[in-house]
C-alpha cells in the first residue's frame, strides 16, 4: 500500500471531532485558493486527522487539475500497464543476457521494477582503472537517492553505497584491493524517488583494468 493510498483510506472513518470540521464551503474555497493564509493552514491541518474532510477536499479538486497534478507527481503511473509489460520484457531479456547471474541466489533483491529504467552512462564494455573506478548512470529525477551494489560475477559483494545524491559512485581502491585486474564486476543501482517508490536498474558490467 502506498503512502498516499493509505492516507486516503480513511474517508469512511468517523471524524475524530466532527465539531472541528470546517464547513464544506470553506473546504471548497481552500481547494480553490480562495482562503487567506491562516485559515488555509487551519483547513489543511485538519485534513491530517480527518479522513472524511480529506475525502471532501479531494472531491473538490478540479478533475482536470487533479489529472495534471497526478502527472506531475508520478508521470510513470500513467504508463503503468506499459511499464509492467516492459518489466516482463526486460525480465525475460535479463534471463537470456544475464543467465550467468540469474541462477545465483540474491540477485532478485535488486531486480525490482525497471519502470522508468536506469541507464548506465559508461556502457557494459567499460574498462575502468583501479584508481578511478567511476560508475555513472542517468539521473532518474532531481531529488532521487541512489543505492549502488557492486559485486563480482559470482555475486561476492565488493562494496555498497547508499543514499547517494549524485548519479555516480567512485569505487574506492581499497574496496577493489582483493579484485584481480581484468575481473568483471556486476553493478546495479536502485533509485528511491521523492514519492517513496523505487526503481531498480538491470545489472551492468564493468571490467577492472
Amino acid at each position: 500500500m502506498r503512502l498516499d493510498e493509505a492516507f486516503r483510506a480513511g474517508e469512511d472513518d468517523p471524524p475524530s471531532d466532527a465539531a472541528a470540521c470546517p464547513s464544506v464551503e470553506r473546504i471548497w474555497d481552500a481547494v480553490h485558493g480562495d482562503l487567506a493564509s491562516t485559515p488555509m493552514r487551519d483547513v489543511i491541518q485538519h485534513l491530517r486527522v480527518c479522513g472524511p474532510c480529506a475525502a471532501e477536499w479531494r472531491a473538490a479538486m478540479d478533475p482536470e487539475v487533479r489529472g495534471a497534478e497526478a502527472a506531475l507527481i508520478a508521470p510513470w503511473r500513467r504508463w503503468a500497464p506499459l511499464a509492467a509489460a516492459a518489466v516482463l520484457v526486460v525480465g525475460v531479456g535479463l534471463v537470456v543476457v544475464l543467465d550467468h547471474v540469474d541462477h545465483v541466489p540474491g540477485v532478485e533483491s535488486m531486480r525490482a521494477t525497471v519502470g522508468r529504467g536506469i541507464q548506465s552512462l559508461i556502457g557494459d564494455d567499460a574498462v575502468l582503472p583501479r584508481e578511478r573506478f567511476l560508475l555513472r548512470w542517468a539521473a532518474v529525477e532531481e531529488d532521487a537517492r541512489y543505492t549502488v551494489k557492486v559485486d563480482l560475477r559470482d555475486l561476492t559483494p565488493v562494496t555498497v553505497a547508499r543514499d547517494l545524491h549524485q548519479p555516480e559512485f567512485l569505487v574506492s581502491a581499497e574496496a577493489l584491493k582483493n579484485v584481480p585486474s581484468g575481473a568483471t564486476l556486476v553493478w546495479r543501482v536502485e533509485a528511491t524517488l521523492v514519492d517513496g517508490s523505487r526503481v531498480a536498474s538491470k545489472a551492468f558490467l564493468a571490467r577492472l583494468e
Partner: protein
C-alpha cells in the same frame, strides 16, 4: 398550422438547462451510496443557487464556478448529514470496491495506517506537514506551492523532507504501508 398549446417544447428552457447542469455536477460529486438522494440534493442546490441569485434579483446568469460550488456544497452537506445520522449502512454501500477491500483486515489495517500517518503529520514540523498533507491529497509541487503561497523549490524540498520524516515516524511506530 399554428403552434399547439400543451405540447412540450423541443427547446429546453434556461431553467431546465440550469437544473440539468446542477444535476450533472451533483452526480459528479455524489458517492455511489448517496445516489438515491440525488434528486433531493439537486433541489437543495437549486434553492441555494436561487438564494444566491436573489441578491442581485436574479438578473445575472450564475457562473459555472458558482453552480459547481453550490452543487458541491449541497452534496457534501447531505453526505455529512447522512453520515451523522447513520442512515446508510456503509458496509453495504457500493463505495467499497475491489476484492482486497472486501476483506475486513484490509479496512482495519488501512485505518491503523491512516491514524498513524495522521499522528506523524501532526508531530512533524508545520511546513513539512502542510506540504506532505497536500502531496498525499494528490497535489503536485506547483499546486501545493500555489495554495501555501510558497515557491516551488521550497515546497518541493519540504515535501521531500516531510516524506522522509513520515517514513521514519511510521517505522518507529512499527507501521509499514
Amino acid at each position: 398550422m399554428t403552434a399547439q398549446s400543451g405540447q412540450p417544447s423541443a427547446e429546453p428552457t434556461p431553467t431546465a438547462l440550469l437544473r440539468e447542469r446542477i444535476r450533472r455536477d451533483v452526480a459528479r460529486f455524489c458517492p455511489p451510496w448517496l445516489r438515491n438522494e440525488i434528486d433531493d440534493i439537486v433541489q437543495v442546490a437549486w434553492m441555494r443557487l436561487e438564494a444566491a441569485r436573489g441578491k442581485d434579483d436574479g438578473r445575472s446568469s450564475p457562473g459555472a464556478t458558482l453552480i459547481t460550488r453550490v452543487a458541491f456544497c449541497a452534496t457534501m452537506d447531505e453526505r455529512r448529514r447522512l453520515r451523522r445520522r447513520r442512515e446508510v449502512a456503509l458496509e453495504e454501500s457500493g463505495e467499497v470496491v475491489g476484492p482486497e477491500r472486501e476483506q475486513p483486515s484490509y479496512a482495519a489495517r488501512a485505518a491503523e495506517i491512516r491514524r498513524a500517518i495522521g499522528e506523524c503529520l501532526v508531530a512533524m514540523r508545520e511546513g513539512r506537514s502542510l506540504a506532505v498533507t497536500l502531496y498525499l491529497q494528490g497535489h503536485g509541487t506547483a499546486s501545493a506551492a500555489r495554495l501555501l503561497g510558497w515557491g516551488a523549490v521550497k515546497t518541493e524540498n519540504l515535501i521531500y523532507r516531510g516524506l522522509a520524516d513520515l517514513r521514519r515516524c511510521l517505522a518507529a511506530k512499527g507501521v509499514a504501508p
